[in-house]
């Protein structure tokens, strides 16, 4: 029961942060909820091992991001991806926040990995090395994904021109 309690404590402490990251990754509240749930179920299934290693955050983050990429791959088989998503879905929810709409639309035009890199670097404030560890790729891949993501953001949302490649 100690393991279950510590898991519940951890979830209570980190739920807000995880939910926000999931929202940025998916761009949808319901999908973000599903993503957090699935990731936490995965984490619960291995909690003893994860918690024994000290800080569970790196592992939990890795599960969340990999789950997101793997979701996207699996859904791609049944739901064809949209290069240009309908704007109506977001327009009525944040009509008064032009920048946020722009960011959301711009994010949706990124690949899952590009979006993950962006969220890890600029929302979670991880370094390139930490980002590479979470995504299980090389630092070079992180760099190129970041560069491509920022380039695409700038082209689709010039308002974000103040973004910098390197931190």
């Amino acid at each position: 029961m100690a393991a279950e309690d510590s898991f519940r404590d951890y979830v209570a402490a980190r739920l807000v942060s995880l939910s926000r990251a999931a929202y940025l990754l998916t761009g949808d509240r319901h999908l973000a909820e599903d993503l957090v749930q699935q990731a936490l179920i995965q984490v619960a299934s291995r909690w003893e091992r994860i918690s024994a290693g000290g800080d569970p955050d790196p592992y939990v983050r890795r599960v969340l991001y990999h789950q997101h990429v793997s979701w996207w791959r699996r859904r791609r088989l049944v739901d064809r991806p949209h290069a240009d998503l309908p704007e109506k879905a977001v327009a009525d929810r944040a009509a008064d926040k032009d920048v946020e709409i722009t960011v959301r639309q711009a994010l949706r035009r990124l690949t899952p990995k590009q979006r993950a890199v962006l969220v890890l670097r600029y929302f979670e404030d991880l370094t390139e090395v930490q980002t590479a560890e979470v995504l299980g790729c090389s630092v070079g891949t992180v760099k190129s994904n970041t560069r491509d993501a920022l380039a695409r953001l700038r082209s689709t949302a010039p308002e974000l021109a103040d973004l910098r490649e390197a931190r």
Partner: protein
């Protein structure tokens, strides 16, 4: 990047199910079961694949590869594959074939033991006679001259119409097979003892069939009601034949004839009913003598006890005259047929060591003193066995007893074993898909 943070602030904490922890535990259990199944699968493949590879290699082993006849064989598994049955493969050239009812068919079945130790079944229809192995052990010659290639599993009809009759003996060079062709056309004639006999009005023919071409050559037309035993002389020039003659098969005839023309060299028309030509290898290796099996005891209308009580012996008669020329060799058990010779002196014969157990047939070498050396032992229930002539001539006996591989099974057996695992996997997958 403040825009990202502001966007993220829109998100309220995700609602979580009450049993999040329980869902994680269930996932852990499913994962463990999956690992266990994967481990079993890997184990099965690890054991099976080398076996398959060995069988594939055996399929291309040349027929003249030297081998040894195993000293003992075992009853095959109930799920043992037939010759050529996928995925086990054919099994390769035979070191012997034995016939038993102890298989899944619950009827007489041929069991081929390959020179590589493989076990494969040959299905026999109800009442079907036992076939013979070609001298090189590569083919099984079934009824009607159907040739089963033991190295590929292919079965084909030797060219022309099927020949229905008794396969008797191969020529010394292994090219021709002597067959007593049944000419009775299904007519049953009853003798004085109400036992169905051959119709003397329709005597059988002796035919030599070339197994390479399917060409048939009549060696003797008529002459006997049927041909029960034939033996080719070692030099291939003469054939000794024995069979019943006269109404109700009352008489027996032993004849030695020219192998090419069929011209009789000598004939004994009143061959005693308590004697018979010893078998397909009745000629001694030097071609000078013929082996004849004789007995003392009940001759006519004998019950099983009377037959079991017979005292058997092996006589050697002059191949030129038919006169007994050597001391008889006493035989303790029940002799079957002389199929070869060891060291030019000891007759090699199929043999039932215990008179009361007719379904225990072995292969033994009979010394002139009457002692027997068991060359091949078999499990109970084996009523006949065959060893290829080439191995008999080379005297390659005493091979390591092979054990039938449980993996040499037909695809349905694998499916049967795998079905519970597949069902569990399917259920897991379906549940997972539903959840997603």
């Amino acid at each position: 990047m403040k825009e990202l943070k502001e966007l993220a602030d829109e998100m309220t904490p995700a609602r979580l199910p009450d049993d999040l922890w329980g869902a994680g535990r269930r996932l852990r259990r499913r994962r463990r079961v999956g690992y266990a199944l994967a481990a079993v699968l890997v184990l099965v493949l690890a054991v099976t694949l080398p076996e398959w590879a060995a069988h594939r290699r055996a399929a291309i082993v040349p027929a003249d590869r030297p081998g040894a006849v195993p000293s003992r064989v075992e009853t095959p598994h109930l799920w043992q594959a037939k010759v050529g049955q996928w995925p086990a493969g054919p099994g390769g050239p035979a070191s012997l074939v034995f016939f038993t009812g102890q298989t899944r068919y619950l009827e007489g079945t041929g069991v081929v033991v390959g020179t590589n130790g493989s076990y494969r079944l040959i299905y026999q229809k109800v009442g079907e006679g036992d076939g013979m192995l070609t001298p090189d052990g590569r083919h099984y010659v079934g009824p009607g001259l159907r040739l089963l290639d033991l190295t590929t599993g292919d079965e084909r009809q030797l060219s022309g119409e099927p020949i229905w009759g008794e396969p008797l003996a191969f020529s010394p060079d292994g090219t021709e097979l002597l067959i007593g062709v049944n000419n009775d056309d299904g007519v049953i004639t009853y003798g004085d003892d109400t036992v169905p006999d051959n119709d003397p009005e329709k005597p059988d023919d002796l035919v030599a069939v070339d197994l390479r071409t399917g060409e048939r050559r009549f060696v003797a037309v008529g002459r006997m009601n049927s041909y029960t035993t034939a033996a080719w002389s070692p030099d291939g020039t003469r054939i000794a034949v024995e069979g019943p003659v006269g109404r109700a098969d009352v008489g027996r005839r032993l004849s030695v004839m020219d192998a090419r023309t069929g011209a009789p060299l000598w004939t004994v028309d009143n061959f005693a009913p308590d004697r018979r030509l010893a078998g397909r290898a009745a000629w001694t290796p030097d071609g000078g003598l013929l082996a004849v099996l004789g007995f003392e005891g009940c001759v006519n209308a004998c019950d099983q006890a009377g037959e079991s009580a017979r005292r058997w012996r092996l006589d050697l008669v002059d191949a030129g005259t038919g006169n007994v020329v050597a001391q008889p060799v006493p035989i303790e058990g029940l002799p079957g047929e002389v199929v070869g010779w060891r060291d030019g002196r000891d007759a090699v014969l199929t043999y039932t060591p215990v008179r009361a157990e007719p379904d225990h047939r072995t292969l033994v070498a009979l010394r002139p003193s009457g002692e027997v050396d068991t060359l091949v032992d078999t499990p109970p229930g084996v009523y006949n066995l065959e060893v290829p002539d080439d191995l008999l001539r080379s005297g390659s006996f005493g091979g390591t007893p092979p054990t039938p591989s449980p993996w040499a099974a037909p695809a349905w057996a694998y499916l049967l074993v795998a079905s519970p695992f597949l069902l569990v996997l399917w259920i897991f997958r379906r549940r997972r898909q539903r959840r997603v």
